[in-house]
Subunit: 324 residues, 2 copies
């Protein structure tokens, strides 16, 4: 036990750096990539990812069990997608409260079955224990890539172009809708935003297409600003994002038009599960055919700068969602 | 820390069979082996195991964090040992209450570091979330075996001899000591039993030696009777255990001499983490050199029979520890 009074509490990343990074083996990529890589059968590597979701934090107790199961798989599959990996297997640990009876389990396992078929992976094993507080669900998802082809966080280089797949901010705005805000939006827009919050769509097709083109990639789960910060730190580069380039859904565009004060929500809100990536200039023609958008550039230096239409940097008071 | 299962509910094995076995892929071995097997680099397979431990069920809130960390790794390593696998990697998911601050984490990670060195594995990654009830810890441990050499549960054949490594019942008796029973035992015996309860010793050396000899193996975590039942079910055979052959530590022998009514505790108590295995007659000379004991035999049929010194079958009212 420490003799020294604890200073400010470490956040999740500080805890990982201090307590867990010293335990990491070579395949762990310094615990800075959200995935690990180990050798697989001839010419392949396995990509491993473990993510947990907790009742009351990552899902509502009243959410349909089918949707909870799919959220659990998909937050993990989203990381595999960003690496260009094909999902193959998963292991599952359930810590269930007594409220999760057999009807709950039947729906939960039906949700797993649906997503297994949809994304092409199978269950390998797991464990089930009792939870006396919140139901907590954890999955280890395993994908496969050709050796050396996984797209890591650490490969971005000055001069690369910065891209993202899909649209930004929908999930964070969807959460606001669920919390009773954005009442002025039309119903279809509100529904779109909520559905984006409720169930991530792992961009496996996009990830597959990025292999051989992208220099670095990750999924946006904790907000663009925070996650881009991690990509920059892992790659030892700086990034500049131009807000007029950010891809917004019609719903997010309508919300932003009605209240420009939502920009920080869009820039820092979590749960979009889109792919953020960098690619060198020569990849531009190939990427032009894909559902991705240029949002800025990579430069020498460190840190993330957000600039508006006239090139002025924005100040953000909140760097994204952290767990501690 | 006893369990009070509601009678009408499916137990853990019923839940697995109904809801999860239909989701399992080929490497999952029907979810009947506690481990999964997937292809690894040339000529090898990975053995994967996920086990979770929960505060108040599998460990006491007051247990030293170092010991909790080691228990978490070792309950998983014990399964790898029984398969004859070499530990290589692990992933870790922590759901921690606010009581687990930085001093707790420092001790916890020191325990992981010690056991990483002791057992030769490294951390690959993981996730950390907040727990609002009990701290819940889950690990996915990955070992490696030569292809086709893992010792499964399903290989026992009529005529095989039944063995176990180490001694039986110490952990369950140790829990009784912690609960205030067995006060007549001498202090060294009480300490021995408690230490056996507190921290499993995965029998990796024994498991290594069993490869090529044993026809089926598993670790004894839920009690001899229950686990032998699983081995028999997976192998479609019956087993007969002769109680006079059961290997008891000096401490367990002293406890049993003072109170023969402890026999059911010894036969059905959990947490020993010794290896139970079957091997054909020709393996006998090789196994005679190992720290293992013949405890009975495998026959055609199904189910587990426990016989005493004069060959009479015993009736047991409790089939071991179940989680639900």
């Amino acid at each position: 036990m420490s003799e020294h009074p604890a200073p400010a509490r470490l956040d999740e990343f500080g805890r990982i750096a201090r307590f867990f990074a010293p335990l990491a083996g070579p395949g762990a990529l310094g615990l800075r990539d959200d995935i690990a890589l180990i050798d697989g059968p001839a010419g392949t590597q396995y990509v491993l990812k473990t993510d947990a979701i907790v009742e009351g934090i990552h899902f509502f107790p009243t959410d349909p069990p089918r949707q909870i199961a799919q959220k659990l798989l998909r937050v993990n599959l989203s990381d595999l997608a960003a690496k260009g990996a094909e999902p193959v297997f998963y292991l599952l640990t359930t810590a269930l409260t007594d409220a999760c009876g057999e009807a709950w389990l039947a729906e939960f396992s039906a949700g797993l079955a649906e997503d297994q078929r949809r994304f092409g992976l199978v269950l390998l094993g797991g464990d089930s224990v009792r939870a006396d507080g919140a139901t907590t669900l954890s999955a280890t998802v395993i994908g496969q890539v050709a050796t050396g082809r996984a797209i890591l966080r650490a490969g971005a280089r000055p001069g690369d172009i910065l891209y993202m797949a899909g649209t930004l901010g929908d999930a964070a705005l969807g959460l606001k809708v669920l919390e009773g805000a954005l009442t002025g939006l039309e119903a279809t827009h509100r529904d779109h935003l909520v559905s984006r919050y409720r169930l991530p769509q792992p961009r496996l097709d996009v990830g597959r297409g990025l292999v051989g083109h992208a220099s670095a990639a990750m999924d946006i789960s904790d907000g663009l600003v925070a996650d881009l910060g991690h990509l920059c730190a892992a790659s030892s580069v700086a990034a500049i994002v131009e807000t007029p380039r950010l891809p917004l859904s019609d719903a997010a565009r309508a919300a932003f038009a009605a209240d420009p004060g939502l920009l920080p929500t869009i820039l820092t809100g979590g749960d979009d599960y889109e792919i953020l990536f960098a690619a060198p200039e020569p990849a531009r023609p190939a990427l032009a055919k894909m559902p991705v958008t240029e949002i800025g550039r990579i430069e020498a230096g460190h840190g993330v700068t957000i600039v508006n239409g006239d090139g002025k940097p924005l100040e953000l008071t909140r760097g994204g969602y952290t767990h501690f």
